[in-house]
């Protein structure tokens, strides 16, 4: 099987751009990734575009702005995993030998909905009964607190850490430090979550240029290797389900580690899907950074800070960087690549060699999550 390398990344700062079209959010990220890669636009052989709510032909709308058309463009919808799923499609296409150089992007404009909780599919039974994403994650948190004695302060520490990381990321939507007290005193959303424990809504775009590893040296001296590219769906369960264990991520992590021939002890940096504070803690356990029930102690120990044992969400994560749903997976990869290249500036995790990007989501009845895509990268 051919190896695949990442040779270019780019993104726009996540934020609120109500006056910019999806197309105009997307193309600057694509140009930035192309410039970063040194690949001339005409050498791109295929493009994969992830968006959850961007509407039809998102990829064509973006690439039409910059004359990058007439090539196969595939649009991918997989909720929060849309652009990480698009990356996997690109990786598979290169591995198969079909293409040598591929563009991947994610783009989303959530300000068009006017704010509030993410609009979900009304065909879904639980959504029709009033379920929304904060409520779903809140119920996971409540059960976890009940079973393992996790405290509200430990939960809040996730926001405090990720907001502190976001201060040093010019692409982050939220760039102000917050204290545990401020997090806990912000307005209630869904108990135990307060506003500052929920990712902000916003717009964004991110792009990645990948190629066959054998060609990477033509473009960059520091290509990043894709060690694992995993995608799975949740297992539908109409009955009882342990909501303190994210089964889809547990399976995905095991698959990704196996593919990479690596384990949790090898990971230096991880961008995990912290849509709400509890999520990051559940993923510590799913990725094996700590044992079951130990996530509260792990955040408190400081081991997941930049400079700790494994820096989790050095970009600020979804909580600070923002979560324009379909752009998130690609943006996580942008951060991991910057960390592995040593380009992360004030938020650089020293000596980062192996990194994980993990995007999961899709709140639908009967599933832990609908989709989960995990990439393991190394320099």
């Amino acid at each position: 099987m051919r190896g695949v390398s990442i040779i270019g990344v780019g993104m726009i700062p996540f934020g609120k751009y109500p006056d910019r079209s999806l197309a105009d959010l997307g193309w600057p990220a694509v140009k930035a990734a192309l410039a970063d890669s040194g690949v001339p636009a005409k050498r791109i052989q295929a493009a994969y575009c992830g968006t959850a709510l961007g509407g039809m032909m998102a990829g064509q709308r973006v690439l039409g702005r910059i004359g990058l058309t007439g090539l196969p463009i595939t649009n991918v919808e997989n909720a929060c995993s849309s652009s990480s799923s698009a990356l996997r499609q690109g990786v598979l296409a290169i591995r198969s030998g079909q293409y040598d150089i591929v563009l991947v992007m994610g783009v989303e404009k959530l300000t068009k909905f006017g704010g509030g909780t993410l609009p979900l599919e009304e065909e879904d039974w639980e959504v029709r009964q009033g379920l929304n994403m904060p409520a779903l994650y809140a119920m996971r948190a409540q059960r976890y607190m009940h079973e393992f004695g996790l405290t509200p302060r430990q939960l809040a520490m996730v926001s405090v850490k990720n907001r502190a990381n976001g201060v040093h990321n010019s692409d982050a939507q939220m760039r102000k430090e917050v204290s545990v007290e401020e997090v806990l005193a912000s307005r209630p959303i869904a108990d135990p979550f307060t506003l500052l424990q929920c990712c902000p809504t916003g717009d964004g775009a991110a792009a990645i240029v990948i190629c066959a590893s054998s060609l990477a040296g033509q473009f960059r001296a520091d290509p990043i290797t894709v060690r694992a590219s995993d995608l799975t769906s949740g297992i539908f369960m109409p009955g009882f389900r342990d909501m303190t264990t994210p089964e889809i991520t547990v399976r995905g992590a095991a698959e990704a580690y196996e593919e990479a021939g690596l384990g949790p002890e090898d990971v230096d940096v991880a961008e995990v899907h912290d849509a709400f504070t509890i999520a990051e803690l559940l993923y510590y356990e799913a990725f094996g950074f700590c044992g079951r029930g130990e996530a509260g102690a792990l955040i408190e120990s400081g081991a997941t800070r930049i400079g700790g044992k494994v820096a989790v969400n050095p970009s600020g994560g979804l909580l600070a960087k923002g979560h324009p749903v379909g752009a998130t997976g690609a943006a996580q990869v942008v951060e991991i690549v910057r960390q592995l290249r040593g380009q992360a500036g004030a938020r650089q995790h020293p000596g980062a060699k192996v990194g994980i990007a993990h995007a999961t989501g899709g709140g639908i009845s009967g599933f832990d999550h609908g989709a989960c895509s995990i990439h393991i990268l190394s320099r």
Binding site: G116, T117, W125, E126, R128, Q129, G130, L131, N132, P134, A135, A138, M139, R140, A141, Q142, R143, H146, R187, P188, I189, A190, D191, P192, F236, P238, G239, F240, R241, M243, S365, G366
Partner: protein, 132 residues
């Protein structure tokens, strides 16, 4: 094949049992034994279309819950919702009423859970046993 689910009235999935009490109608698969709520025309485990409607137990144990303060306007807030584990192995998402805690055994009822286009949305709720 669209099997009509008997005993099903408005709101969705809610009917009455022989004693006139509110009951949820889910379904059971005669081929693999899977039970589920709400009912669908096909078994989510084995894809059999021989599924039959089945009344769900009227009580359940609260697995988890939350009080929701944000979200679409049509839902009455603060909105308390949770997952009930029924004795037949089915988990149901529901609005809750009154003071509740994880592991409480709650009982099915009906109540107004929201409002749309000026009209109340009546839905099933779970509340403490013996409540009104």
């Amino acid at each position: 094949m669209d099997q009509p689910v008997t005993g099903r009235t408005d709101p969705e999935g809610v009917g009455r049992d022989a004693d006139g009490r509110v009951v949820l109608f889910g379904a059971a698969c005669p081929e693999c034994g899977t039970r589920f709520f709400p009912a669908t025309a096909v078994c989510p485990h084995c894809a059999s279309e021989a599924v039959a409607p089945e009344a769900m137990p009227r009580t359940g144990t609260l697995y988890t819950f939350t009080t929701v303060h944000a979200g679409p306007r049509k839902w009455k807030k603060p909105m308390v919702v949770g997952y009930l584990d029924l004795p037949n192995g089915v988990r149901v998402f529901a609005h809750l009423r009154g003071q509740v805690a994880i592991d409480d055994v709650l009982e099915l009822g009906l109540d107004t859970i929201g409002e749309e286009d000026g009209k109340p949305i009546v839905g099933f709720v779970f509340r403490q046993m013996g409540g009104v």
